[in-house]
């Protein structure tokens, strides 16, 4: 198979160049370009419907891009899908395990399907079961597992073959906080034990803090790409959250500083802030505020300043849209 990777320097695990994808009238991806270096923990951050899953499906060779090129370890996913798949370990958003088979049988099957020789297969299965702490569950049917355990099993499965690049599509969605933290702990341990590149999509901002680099994507476009710290410095804003004493006060403050107002949630007002602004606000309305909170730049504010929206607000709405899209027979829930 002519899959000798073309020499690129510095070594790139994933290279996406001007990739576009259209579903009917919606432009899901609009000339998206970015590169992931080898052994990097790279996050794609964006609300649901931003195009993250579409991009992942293109990388995993399920979808073909309308235009542009995507390379996995130097292999074009559209031209040599089989060679690209050998290098990829994929965990999809929806589980893709066989419920009726046991944990070990699912891993066996994956090893067979990916052509892992028997001895190596046995060895990897035990290693991966130990890593995700499912050894005691190896003989249990998958349908008896909790959703967190299923997710762990899928991560283990993606690494049974010689995968160099792990693609995780929203690995923590729908899990409770404790389980989410555990999933991330496994990802960190994996990176320590095996030399792999990890590309993860998420819409939980707090999760990307620990990543090497973050690519913020919305409406099918890359808005920013850098380390979390650099993003905060470049785009972060100080936010001021205040709780006015009464409803009329709230209205008065909101009208007075309308140009800096970014959010109204319940009785709370949020402003883009700096020192002068805090001084001005306190001088004028200091007695009509019950609580005041200054927030240092966070990725939350980075997202806000890049898109003009809070990620959280949008998440619910777009989630509904995605589901509605799926019910109509949409591409990525098929």
């Amino acid at each position: 198979m002519p899959d000798q990777p073309t020499p690129v320097s510095p070594p790139l695990a994933i290279h996406v160049d001007a990739v576009s994808k259209r579903y009917g009238r919606t432009l899901a991806l609009d000339e998206v370009s970015f590169a992931v270096r080898e052994k990097e923990l790279f996050a794609l951050l964006g609300p649901n419907g931003a195009g993250k899953t579409t991009l992942l499906h293109i990388l995993s060779t399920i979808l073909r891009p309308d235009s542009g090129v995507a390379l996995i370890g130097g292999v074009d996913v559209a031209r040599q899908p089989l060679a690209a798949r050998e290098r990829l370990g994929i965990v999809f958003q929806e589980p893709s395990l066989d419920d009726r088979l046991s944990v070990r049988e699912n891993l066996e099957l994956h090893g067979l399907v990916f052509g892992v020789p028997r001895r190596l297969r046995r060895q990897r299965i035990e290693e991966m079961l130990a890593l995700v702490e499912l050894t005691d569950w190896a003989a249990k049917p998958v349908k008896t597992l909790s959703s967190g355990m299923k997710r762990r099993l899928e991560i283990a499965r993606a690494l049974i073959h010689d995968s160099e690049i792990l693609l995780l599509d929203e690995p923590t969605v729908g899990l409770d906080a404790q389980t989410r933290e555990r999933i991330w702990a496994y990802v960190r341990r994996l990176r320590a034990e095996r030399e792999i590149t990890v590309l993860v999509t998420t819409h939980y901002i707090e999760e990307v803090e620990g990543c090497d680099r973050v690519c913020i994507i919305d409406g099918g476009k890359v808005l920013a790409l850098d380390t979390p710290d650099a993003l905060k410095q470049a785009h972060g804003q100080v936010l001021l959250r205040i709780m006015p004493t009464t409803e009329p006060d709230r209205e008065a403050i909101a009208t007075r500083f309308a140009d800096r107002l970014t959010g109204k949630q319940g009785a709370e007002l949020t402003f883009v802030s700096d020192e002068a602004f805090v001084a001005a606000l306190l001088a004028e309305f200091g007695t009509r505020i019950t609580a005041l909170n200054v927030e240092a730049p966070s990725l939350e504010t980075v997202f806000l300043s890049l898109t003009g929206r809070e990620l959280r607000d949008r998440a619910a709405g777009a989630r509904e849209q995605t589901h509605a899209f799926g019910r109509r027979g949409g591409e990525h829930t098929r």
Partner: protein, 279 residues
């Protein structure tokens, strides 16, 4: 952990064969864990052979006031025995194709689609798995041979298994073709019943077209439309070839059944593969 960087290469053919084995094994394991399917596989032949077969046995010779009108030299039980094998294979084959819908609905399909296996391998693994289970269910009927007064030699059984495999492969492919066109489990149930039973009843499985009559006479004794349907039904020839092997009774030339089944296997598998590649 072994920091394995060296890509362990297996020849592409070995990868496909290994994957084929894995997918086949999965189908077989799943089938054996499904109690409902097993119960159906056992109870169906018992019902047909023991109740319908024994119950209708006395009426088969068609003696009306001592005058024999039919000359099929077999008891009804013997006559229906090969057809019950076909029936059991039919139900199991078409049912196992339902897992195509299952896989699509519950995401497993995606795991296979991002593997290095070709679509043909994936489909073949699934159909061979369904075929195996169906042949096993068909063999359950063979166990009842002595109740039906059918005596079998070892070679008879081998020949029968060969024919049953061809039949099961064709019918599983048919099931997959149906499943690819139906999106829900309920729809599949209705549709498969609407295909299975009419196909079975018009395959001269449960009644013979009297072989003593000429073609013209047949069309006088039986309604014209029925004879036409029976003659156009491919299953007629499959059941006929099974009868030839098991009770040594053929209504058509013995090779027609094999020819019809081979053609059906090739055509139905090709359609299923075409659908699968496009999906």
């Amino acid at each position: 952990m072994s920091g394995v960087r060296k890509r362990q290469r297996r020849s592409p053919l070995m990868v496909q064969l290994g994957g084929l084995y894995g997918l086949w094994l999965r189908e077989v394991k799943r089938a054996f864990r499904d109690r409902g399917q097993l119960v159906g596989g056992v109870s169906r032949p018992i019902l047909w052979v023991l109740i319908l077969g024994i119950g209708l046995n006395p009426y088969f010779r068609g003696e009306v006031y001592g005058e024999v009108t039919f000359v099929v030299p077999f008891t009804y039980l013997q006559f229906i025995f090969p057809a019950v094998i076909a029936l059991n294979i039919m139900f199991t084959s078409v049912q196992s194709a339902v897992s195509v819908i299952w896989d699509r609905e519950f995401g497993f399909l995606r795991e296979v689609l991002v593997s290095p296996l070709s679509r043909a391998t994936v489909l073949l693994g699934k159909i061979l798995g369904g075929t195996t289970v169906a042949v096993l269910h068909g063999s359950l009927v063979l166990v009842l041979a002595r109740f039906a007064d059918v005596s079998l030699t070892f070679t008879d059984v081998l020949k029968a298994l060969g024919l049953m495999t061809l039949l099961a492969f064709a019918l599983t492919s048919l099931g997959v073709v149906i499943a690819n066109r139906i999106r829900s489990f309920e729809g599949f149930g209705i549709f498969s019943n609407a295909v299975i039973l009419p196909l079975y009843f018009t395959s001269s499985s449960i009644f013979p077209l009297d072989p003593a009559l000429s073609r013209a006479q047949t069309r006088i004794v039986y309604p014209d439309w029925l004879v036409t349907i029976v003659e156009y039904n491919p299953l007629t020839y499959a059941v006929d070839s099974l009868r030839g092997v098991l009770i040594n009774y053929n209504q058509f030339a013995p090779w027609t059944g094999i020819a019809v089944m081979v053609v059906a296997c090739v055509v139905l598998f090709s359609i299923a593969l075409y659908d699968f590649r496009r999906a």
